[in-house]
Symmetry: none
Subunit: 540 residues, 2 copies
């Protein structure tokens, strides 16, 4: 057995128990793909017994073609006083044909008597029967010992007997849970070490952040012998959340030198954190360790002058190791390498000394200052890079639009948009209805373009998100709109920022269409294609 | 010497080095008063040598009449190669007549040579001269050993010699700083214990959160012998922030049993955290440990049915100890028990057998199926419960609205709303402009109500979120809008769902205003108040 640490991500299950976190099946599938890319071993997708949405996820997840991650279903030990094979929730685990199940059971005598109101003896039977039933059915079992640390402090012998039962019944992993998040690192260290002495089995740790100690508790458990870590991206989860894998992983790998994921995967850590926060539409604190925008941002004057001499004076790791970057909040030094890297990703050569590169960096910084964010809007960034660098022809320019939304009591709401744009220099005027103002705008705009670009018919808006950027002036503050479009082959995201939600949406909408037209020949002339060849763009 | 832990709060100094944190002198004075009430011993108010604002704070702070806290100024050791009495920054400390100074100096050989570019010997002189100069001038000295842990790992003998110099020169405290936040708890524990053996002096700890370990590092240091803790409210600070005192204090007091502040002061912890976040205009994460709105919020159905039997099943401490409270979130993960509990929280009796309860549960389920989400929309849920149960009078009904948004190239976008509503049965018609369609709607709607309810002027929109609910049908899919309003005392959230973003926003907007009016007497008649009394509502 090597010293590799196995990660179980429960963003899709425990993560959704956090206030404000709500994920559609589509969201969950996207996140699962991303977790697989990050190198996660087990993805706990939900509790199929508890709701239909979770059951649907497991069925659709089979088609994800994951590289290494194993989709895992969450479930409970059987109900008291019935055989495991009659338990509807356990039967459902079989129905959805999942390969691994994470089964939680009680370890704390107080919980057995208070929460599920049965005998200590029956609880042991529940654990044993459940694990045996699943293992006999060919399902791998991760046994989550709920409230283990509280249970161990209350009745050590009983807590031990529950996990011994699970392991003897065939559980592949025994995971010790600090369900209430109230345990301190030195207690975690002592109890895990003591368990390790008493029961020789693969141990895991599941920590909650109620004392702001989930990451520390996780590290303490690993140092005491736990080889599986459970947590969530950005620490989402019930109450104060779960152990934040975005902090746990680099701590284990870079500080303790334990292998967890590859160096390339680790360099995707920041973008994964931001991607999941966008999908979940959860605000990411700027000061989030490792992945936050301010995690390597220097503001103090003493700090800034020192990092100019040597970054390690005020940085505990090189930001690039986790895919983040240094920022200097009062100077103009940041970002170049990041943009060069990004351009390479898009197949565009960007020389660091090229004056256009400097113009581009200034432009990106200025837009970020205004509230634009390109982490979740690659297509807008690509347009920006191309426009600064390649004299990208503007096929589309706005002349005017007018939106009307009318609602009377008990009548359906009506949304109409009138759009006047120039397409290849020629004015086009059109109107359309829609299910809302943005949909009406989208319909009217595409009507203007459809003659030249019939292929636009295949693209459709697949996500739309709005966020207020600061709350100083009420409704009059800026909003950021992120729009995602998809066609049969590709998905792309764009961003718009304005005090006016319609204007921000318009910007993002136009970017989406400009991006869609990058690879398309107009039906009536070749101008767009010609322009594209002239600037040496690489198709993607 | 008793085992009381001394707290130094540096929200007003290191806290303001966090991105987005900016405090006026007035803000700082307000926060200082509040910190004193909380029982903080030292309030580090700023760096008078670095800017005028900080110098002004120290002058005005003399009139604060604090109960126990000592205002402390931050500063550096003297510049290299000059006498301490010629150092302008040190002279300023004398000029502002502060009683205590926190002076930082270098402990790390690498930093001495790279950042301040002097000899190891001169650095020792700088420390000695500075401490002696201040002590001779009657100023108490807290010596902050910057980068101590990195220094200790790099050159143990030199790091020790720096703090020995400070202590021998008369420093009252020696504070070991993990300036880059890269040290792990087991390293902190070992190094503090080792320092304690080598130098018998009052030790403190100053931790940063770059590894999400600042709270754990602080606890580890205290357990190893540190008696002073430095940190900030809500963990504000450079890069990822400082040790969060809102978590450190209850951990030390409730978990380790160390006296820090009184029980009454501890019960003011949550309100202090929220007060400071308001003053600093920083969004407070709902899941912040101890003080967050969701710190004791239960969403999973299993959790909720258990806490109804006994709160300690899923709560590590009684929320009231830190001035927070238990909440139950109503979501698709939850069952009937959540709703019954929620109603109790609102002061409404909801019997499980009552037919109205069944109607309510069906209604909530139906709305959730349509895409409503109540775990982030307490106010909408309260209106729903009241309307099913209490014949809540509808003060406000819609007759019609019309929104127009017009944009021409290079002209500012114009948004206008015309609203016709019934207020207490009387038609009111009004129009307003706004920075966007929602702002225009809000303005027009409030104009309609302002005559009867002038108090609505104080409420303002503090957050606005939109998300698409599923992406099967492009822009024509449903959107969910979450709106948060605040007034001087309270914050409340509402939800709206529709295929049309304007209609969804309208619903959430109306709910916000209906909720705001629950406690308000109309200026012209008493009808709303009468209705409220009729259904036996409890003011909140």
């Amino acid at each position: 057995m090597d010293n590799r640490i196995t990660i179980l991500d429960t963003t899709l299950r425990d993560g959704t128990q956090g206030e404000g976190v709500s994920l559609t099946v589509e969201d969950k599938l996207k996140i699962a793909k991303r977790l697989d890319m990050l190198g996660i071993s087990f993805i706990e997708g939900g509790w199929p017994g508890s709701n239909h949405k979770d059951a649907e996820f497991f069925i659709r997840a089979r088609e994800l073609n994951l590289q290494q991650a194993r989709i895992t279903a969450f479930g409970s030990t059987r109900r008291k006083n019935i055989p495991a094979e009659h338990d509807a929730n356990l039967r459902q685990l079989l129905d959805i044909r999942v390969g691994t199940a994470a089964i939680f059971g009680k370890s704390w005598d107080f919980q057995v008597q208070t929460a599920i109101q049965t005998t200590l003896f029956e609880n042991l039977n529940m654990i044993e029967d459940t694990v045996r039933f699943l293992k006999r059915s060919g399902i791998g079992v991760i046994y989550d010992a709920e409230h283990f640390f509280d249970g161990y402090k209350s009745n050590r012998a009983y807590a031990m007997s529950t996990i011994r039962k699970a392991y003897e019944a065939g559980a592949d992993w025994v995971v010790l849970c600090d369900t209430n998040g109230g345990t301190l690192p030195h207690e975690i260290a002592a109890i895990v070490a003591s368990v390790k002495e008493q029961l020789d089995c693969p141990l895991g740790i599941h920590a909650h952040n109620d004392c702001e100690l989930a990451v520390a508790n996780t590290i303490a458990a690993v140092m005491a012998g736990a080889a599986q870590v459970q947590g969530t991206i950005n620490g989402y989860g019930e109450r104060c959340g779960n152990a934040n894998l975005i902090s746990v992983i680099p701590n284990l790998q870079l500080k303790l030198g334990l292998p967890v994921i590859t160096a390339e995967q680790l360099a995707g850590l920041t973008s994964t954190a931001r991607y999941v926060s966008e999908i979940a539409n959860m605000h990411m604190p700027v000061n989030q360790p490792f992945a936050g925008h301010a995690a390597f941002a220097h503001k103090g004057g003493v700090h800034v002058s020192a990092i100019l001499r040597d970054s390690s004076t005020y940085e505990h790791i090189a930001p690039g190791l986790v895919g983040n970057r240094q920022r200097v909040l009062v100077s103009e030094l940041s970002g170049q390498s990041n943009l060069v890297f990004k351009a390479q990703e898009l197949g565009l050569e960007l020389e660091a000394n090229d004056p256009n590169t400097k113009i581009l960096i200034e432009r990106v910084k200025e837009l970020e200052h205004q509230g634009y964010q390109f982490d979740g809007a690659d297509a807008s960034l690509e347009l920006l890079i191309r426009s600064v660098h390649g004299n990208l022809e503007e096929i589309l320019t706005l002349e005017s639009f007018k939106i009307t939304v009318v609602k009377s009591v008990d009548q359906a709401i009506l949304s109409e948009a009138v759009v006047k744009v120039k397409v290849h220099g020629e004015s086009v005027y059109n109107a359309a209805e829609g299910n809302g103002p943005i949909n009406a705008l989208d319909n009217a705009l595409r009507k203007c373009l459809m003659q030249h670009y019939p292929s636009l018919q295949t693209m459709h808006l697949s996500d739309y998100k709005v966020r207020v950027l600061d709350d100083k002036d009420g409704t009059a503050t800026k909003v950021r709109v992120l729009i995602e479009f998809s066609d049969r082959e590709e998905t792309w995201s764009t961003v718009g920022v304005s005090e006016n939600i319609i204007e921000a949406s318009w910007q993002a909408l136009c970017d989406s269409i400009r991006y869609a037209l990058l690879d398309v020949k107009p039906a009536l002339n070749k101008r767009a294609e010609g322009a594209k060849e002239a600037v040496g763009l690489v198709n993607h």
